[in-house]
């Protein structure tokens, strides 16, 4: 590969060997990057993970089934009922098309392709990192940076097998674009410039810079003018080669999107609770830096220093990349991912330089030690060194070094004993002086190398641990180790499979938006809201329904044609991220649009609780009822294992909903809306707004309606 193209010394064989070794190492790095990410497949199974990947999976399935033209024109009526979503125009098609073409050329199993897309592109990203770092600081740094990137936990967290998401591919696109940019800069070749433009376009098509970072933004990623603007700026930048300004422009062009994001993010979190409700959008803590980039955090400063000696275009680019990504990673946990390659490149440079210095010091001093220890005849030792010199003279690089050897030796020796035979001594010149200054004491360098190896070992152990334990859980299958063996909690798929097979194909399922993508992909049922979260009002409507008492909720759901309501309940087995724990966000988001839902009504003295002290509004809301319906019959006390308390209201009946399915561990409960009664028994209530069918009227009614539970 490119490793061979480095030096054209007389020792072609040595170089060829080095080249082959380099290719081999890169191959192993690729294997490492791939295999460290398939812990999830080995520990669990080959399955799509989490939430967003299910959407991408579904889109890919559609693409492979219906072809590219149908895909562009796809209007999805299975989601955001009754609004629907224009998928072709709102999705970032890069990932889908990538996997789709992999499916077309290589495999015909869509799921397998989707599961393994991320690990494959991680290997590619490692290679791209090699190329970029090689442009910046040489082959050695490149190899180390590639190895570091292959297993950096921050990237693993986004690219384990099954996490079929934009980020996994985007990091490759990002790094590769940077490589081509730096390459163009270094060579001035039009070929690379063109490649660079294409690659940049691919990256934009992937849309990470916008899409993966903030969920609310983004329509028509490819078509929007600002993308073309940044794209054009970049093109111009590359082709016209404004070297003087390139730093500014470059920074502008690619961080433009992020700036926009971050700007919007601060805006959004202030005014839209949806954004704030996503844990990925919180600022990171120091432990998360340690968790995600581990020892790289300590190596990065050294890398920056190494980049300044000497400062080239490429190395200043790397420094700039690092600094900006550090800044942005401080805004949002999610942006740590962008920091990871920068940190790897810097650490690779730092480690490579450090090894360079230490090994050189050892190499220069080692012959000395060997010679001095016998301390036989000086002439002997002199001649042996001289022969050493002669034998090494064939290679230019080693000539210099052995030169230094012969220089080094007498200078130390002079101090020890004055001898007459200093025929071969030569006057040290400037450059030799420089090199001699870089030479560290032997013991110190040996210890340092050992320490660096230990540090690297620590990093590897941490990465493997992170890959195996922390980031491999698919989150739709949970496992726990009990004394009697492994327990598998497969409740989500149980519920989705039930919905898929035992409800009508056009039934609408309402749930909190977290489960929207999974429901459409796994249960193939129409959902009201999903993880795309583009319509805040719609989500607020569902939030309002969940926070309302049963009858009001029934009316809202009925107006949306909902037939089934799905809630996630972890109280029986202690699954903490259930709907009761997310409930306050539903109240907030609902209350943001419909003012009759007020957060304080659900809090007792500012505390969120579901025990006997809870407010009546809380105990009567739909979410509480659906979660705890007949829960008391399991143990007689209704002890909630997540909240670690007995619930407030234990015995109640549902009048407008009926339980149709509950999974084995009660983690998902599905209720059906009872059909309206033909005849209302007892006294008739005051005639209300008769138009229940249109949802807008319903919302207006909801707005004006007084909350009966306060």
């Amino acid at each position: 590969m490119a490793a061979t193209a480095e030096t054209k010394g007389p020792s072609a064989l040595r170089n060829a060997f080095g080249g082959v070794l380099g290719v081999f190492i890169l191959l192993l790095i690729g294997v490492l990057a791939f295999s460290i990410r398939i812990f999830s497949v080995i520990k669990y199974e080959s399955v799509i993970h989490e939430f967003d990947p299910y959407f991408n999976y579904r889109v890919t399935q559609y693409l492979t089934k219906n072809g590219i033209y149908d895909f562009w024109n796809w209007f999805d009526d299975r989601t955001w009922y009754p609004l629907g979503r224009v998928i072709g125009g709102t999705v970032y098609p890069g990932l889908t098309l990538t996997a789709g073409s992999m499916w077309w050329y290589v495999l015909d199993m869509v799921e397998t392709v989707c599961v393994f897309t991320a690990p494959i592109f991680s290997a590619n990203a490692a290679w791209a990192t090699y190329l970029l770092t090689k442009e910046v600081k040489g082959t050695g740094a490149g190899l180390i940076a590639a190895a570091l990137l292959a297993m950096v936990p921050s990237y693993i967290s986004r690219s384990v097998a099954g996490s079929y998401d934009n980020e996994a591919v985007a990091i490759f696109a990002l790094v590769f674009t940077f490589y081509l940019y730096v390459k163009t800069l270094n060579t001035g070749s039009l070929f690379y410039a063109t490649l660079n433009a294409l690659s940049y376009f691919y990256m934009v098509v992937l849309g990470t810079l916008l899409a993966s970072l903030v969920p609310v933004v983004g329509f028509n990623a490819v078509m929007t003018s600002e993308h073309f603007a940044s794209f054009l700026v970049f093109m111009e930048n590359v082709t016209l080669k404004h070297n003087d300004h390139y730093n500014i422009e470059e920074a502008f062009s690619w961080h433009y999107a992020q700036l926009e994001c971050c700007f919007r993010r601060t805006y959004a979190s202030k005014y839209i609770p949806i954004i704030a409700s996503v844990s990925e959008h919180q600022p990171p803590t120091w432990p998360s830096y340690f968790m995600d980039i581990n020892v790289l955090a300590f190596l990065v400063p050294a890398g920056i220093i190494a980049c300044f000696l000497p400062l080239s275009d490429a190395s200043s680019f790397a420094v700039l990349y690092l600094v900006t990504s550090v800044y942005f990673s401080g805004v949002m946990v999610r942006l740590m991912l962008v920091l990871a390659p920068a940190a790897c490149i810097m650490s690779g440079i730092a480690l490579s330089e450090a090894y360079d210095v230490f090994t050189r010091s050892i190499k220069l001093q080692l012959p000395n030690i060997l010679d001095n220890s016998p301390d036989a005849g000086d002439i002997n030792s002199v001649s042996s060194i001289a022969q050493n010199d002669a034998s090494k003279i064939d290679s230019h690089a080693t000539t210099n070094k052995s030169e230094t050897v012969s220089k080094e030796r007498p200078s130390r020796k002079n101090r020890k004993k004055e001898k007459e035979k200093e025929i071969v001594e030569k006057v040290p010149s400037n450059s030799e002086n420089k090199k001699r200054l870089l030479v560290l004491p032997l013991e110190a360098s040996a210890v340092s190398i050992l320490l660096l190896i230990v540090l690297g070992g620590f990093y590897v152990v941490h990465c493997v641990w992170a890959a195996a334990e922390a980031y491999s859980a698919p989150s739709i299958v949970l496992t726990s180790y009990a004394p009697d063996g492994l327990h598998v909690f497969d409740d989500f798929r149980e519920a989705y499979a039930w919905l898929r097979h035992n409800t009508d194909v056009d039934d609408k399922v309402a749930s909190w938006w977290d489960y929207g993508y999974q429901t459409t992909a796994m249960a193939n049922r129409t959902v009201i809201v999903d993880n795309n979260t583009w319509n805040n009002t719609h989500i607020a409507t569902v939030g309002t329904a969940m926070s309302s008492p049963e009858k009001a909720a029934w009316e809202i759901f009925n107006s949306l044609d909902v037939k089934y309501v799905l809630v996630v309940f972890g109280g029986l087995v202690g699954y903490p991220s259930d709907d009761i724990n997310k409930f306050l966000w539903m109240v907030r988001i609902g209350g943001g649009v419909f003012p009759h839902i007020r957060e304080p009504d659900y809090l007792r003295d500012g505390q969120y609780r579901i025990d006997a002290q809870a407010t009546p509004t809380m105990l009567n809301c739909l979410m509480y009822k659906l979660s705890y319906y007949r829960f008391v019959e399991t143990d007689g006390k209704a002890f909630d294992r997540v909240r670690r308390t007995e619930i407030g209201k234990k015995y109640f009946k549902l009048t407008h909903f009926e339980e149709v399915f509950t999974t084995h561990h009660w983690m998902v409960r599905i209720y059906k809306l009872k059909p309206p009664k033909n005849r209302i028994r007892g006294k008739l209530k005051k005639p209300r707004s008769t138009s229940k069918s249109s949802s807008s009227n319903q919302k207006r009614a909801g707005n004006t309606q007084k909350n009966p539970w306060q």
Binding site: S46, A390, R493, W498
Partner: protein
């Protein structure tokens, strides 16, 4: 033949077994009949009649002919559907061919086994989780026959003792869980007296609406079986939702007709078993086995109640040598037709046998009639595709779980085709790479930039050679130094001189070699940038040579004069410094040139 003429007298003992535990949705009816020919002339056929409503659900029919009385050897007789003339259209007829003609007055004992599916109608049609499942069975108390019947009894064996109601005729009694009608004597032909039995049946009615079995043969030693199930619980539908709490904590009275798991009996030595559906692996399954069979217990994702559906896929590999044999130059695949689960009734079974690419002369022999056709399937590295034999049959019951055979011809050499394709593919890829690296594919060979590039390459090569020569001469310098050191150690002046002579010769040769190269560099326009450096390098090197020689001469001289070490040192000190400086310059220049 006019069946309206009663030529047979039948002695019947009819025994429908309604739902034994393993056979949920099935009615298995065994008819023992002794047939006596009372007509004239020998006959070789016996007709059986079923009402159309029953005949639709008839899944299997089998006749066993018992020779002699009591314990005779038994053999099964061919039974086929016929459409005789002059019979009411509401009836469907099957005909049994007797092995030999039945003479007048002779009797023969036939044991007829028929299996009906979907004959038990749940009533009520929808039940709650806590209810038991009640079903209706309709039949005739008199055996429907085109012949007059002498004596006949009917026994209905039920799966439980609880019977809601049953049609009461004279001679009817309920004993334990068996209802007996009869014996009736001298029943005329085509007599029909409907009966209805309403009883409890909590056995799950597992029905596979469709089962697609794909059997793929790989001559590398594997038979891969993949079975796609689409199951439904055919019993009474569920109303009023499903309560997990009742199901978990009051299991004895809740969901009695539902089922949680199924057991598949796979052939021995089945391996790589998986169980999944469209959204991933289903973790609730167990496998155990011995040398005779492998048992796979699978549990669907959720308990299946009446009317609920699910679908899943089971796959397993089997060793090829257990199922593939050779006979008369042909290969025979001998494998079971039905599904490995005994409880399952299959509405529509499709068996696809995927033969290896290049199979020819394909023929199928099945133990019962099936719809058959062929397709082509493309898999990895296929060119002409693999032939697929497809068999389709409705109403499959465990009685159909028989072996069928697929015969085909296959050349073993075809096995190597795909590996060879890969090998050659990569081979040509590498060849292409080598060719690409070694050929000049520039479009315009006369353009200035192209020529300049060529020249530049040449210049680089020349500079490389110059560098080589310089480093050689540097090596010679080292040798000189070494000889000096030898001298200081041994005092052998002669050898030192010899070394100097040799070095001199070598250096001269090198200088000779250098000359044309320098000439080329000087003339080349491309080398204008590098030339001054090279020139300087050569000059410095020459200077260094001279100095070295001078010093060598001085030292040797001193030794000849037997001067002391310190004196020698003093003498050569200045030379030494110059040499070092020169050496440094040469090295620097080499580095600079290298960078260019």
């Amino acid at each position: 033949m006019a069946p309206t003429v009663p030529r047979f007298v039948l002695l019947l003992f009819l025994l429908p077994i309604l739902s034994s535990t393993a056979r949920s949705d099935l009615v298995i009816s065994r008819v023992d009949r002794r047939v006596e020919n009372v007509g004239a002339g020998a006959v070789s056929e016996v007709l059986l009649a079923f009402p159309n409503s029953q005949a639709e659900n008839l899944a299997a029919i089998k006749t066993i002919y018992i020779e002699g009385k009591g314990k005779g050897s038994s053999s099964s007789l061919p039974t086929a559907r016929v459409e005789p003339e002059g019979v009411p259209p509401e009836l469907t007829f099957y005909s049994i061919s007797l092995p030999k003609g039945l003479e007048k007055g002779e009797t023969v004992t036939l044991d007829i086994l028929t299996v009906f599916t979907h004959s038990l109608k749940p009533f009520p049609e929808e039940i709650t989780q806590a209810d038991v499942q009640l079903v209706l069975y309709q039949d005739s108390a008199h055996y429907l026959s085109p012949y007059a019947v002498k004596v006949q009894t009917l026994g209905i064996r039920l799966p439980s003792r609880r019977v809601e109601s049953y049609t009461k005729y004279p001679n009817t009694k309920l004993v334990e869980s068996e209802i007996r009608y009869g014996p009736y004597e001298n029943v005329p032909a085509f007599s029909y007296s409907p009966i209805v039995v309403h009883f409890e049946n909590n056995n799950p009615f597992v029905v596979a609406r469709e089962l697609v079995r794909e059997i793929e043969i790989s001559h590398w030693g594997n038979v891969q079986v993949t079975e796609h199930y689409s199951l439904v619980h055919g019993g009474a539908g569920t109303k009023g939702g499903f309560s997990r709490i009742d199901y978990q904590y009051r299991h004895s009275i809740s969901g009695m007709s539902s089922f949680r798991h199924l057991i598949a009996r796979l052939p021995p030595r089945a391996h790589s078993i998986y169980y999944r559906d469209e959204i991933g692996n289903i973790s609730t399954s167990h496998v155990w086995g011995d040398s005779r069979r492998t048992q796979l217990e699978i549990e669907p994702r959720f308990p299946i109640f009446g009317g609920w559906r699910t679908s899943f896929t089971i796959g397993y590999g089997l060793p090829l040598q257990d199922f593939l044999f050779e006979s008369e130059g042909k290969r025979v695949l001998n494998i079971t037709f039905g599904c490995p689960m005994a409880e399952v009734v299959i509405d529509n079974l499709i068996v696809k046998v995927v033969l290896p690419e290049g199979s020819k002369a394909i023929s199928v022999s099945a133990p019962f009639p099936t719809k058959q056709w062929q397709e082509i399937k493309y898999s990895h590295l296929d060119i002409i595709g693999r032939p697929v034999v497809i068999l389709e049959k409705n109403n499959i019951v465990p009685e159909h779980n028989l072996y069928f055979q697929v015969y085909y011809k296959f050349n073993n050499l075809s096995l190597l085709r795909e590996p060879m394709m890969l090998i050659f593919g990569f081979f040509f890829l590498f060849i292409a790479c080598i060719v690409y690296m070694h050929t000049d594919i520039s479009i315009s060979k006369s353009s200035a930039s192209y020529l300049a590039k060529l020249q530049w390459d040449e210049v680089q090569a020349t500079v490389q050679q110059v560098q080589n020569i310089i480093s050689h001469s540097l090596a010679v310098h080292e040798k000189l130094e070494a000889s000096l050191r030898d001298l200081s150690r041994t005092g052998d002046v002669q050898s030192c001189k010899a070394a100097r002579k040799a070095a001199d010769g070598q250096l001269k040769e090198l200088a000779k070699e250098l000359k044309p190269l320098l000439g080329f560099l000087q003339s080349s326009t491309q080398a204008s940038q590098i030339w001054p450096k090279v020139e300087e390098l050569v000059v410095k090197e020459k200077e260094m040579q001279e100095k070295l020689m001078l010093r060598h001469a001085t030292v040797v001289d001193c030794f000849e004069k037997k001067l002391g070490g310190r004196e020698i040192e003093n003498r050569i000190a200045s030379q030494q410094q110059k040499i070092s400086a020169l050496r440094q310059e040469v090295d620097d220049l080499l580095e600079v040139i290298d960078e260019i």
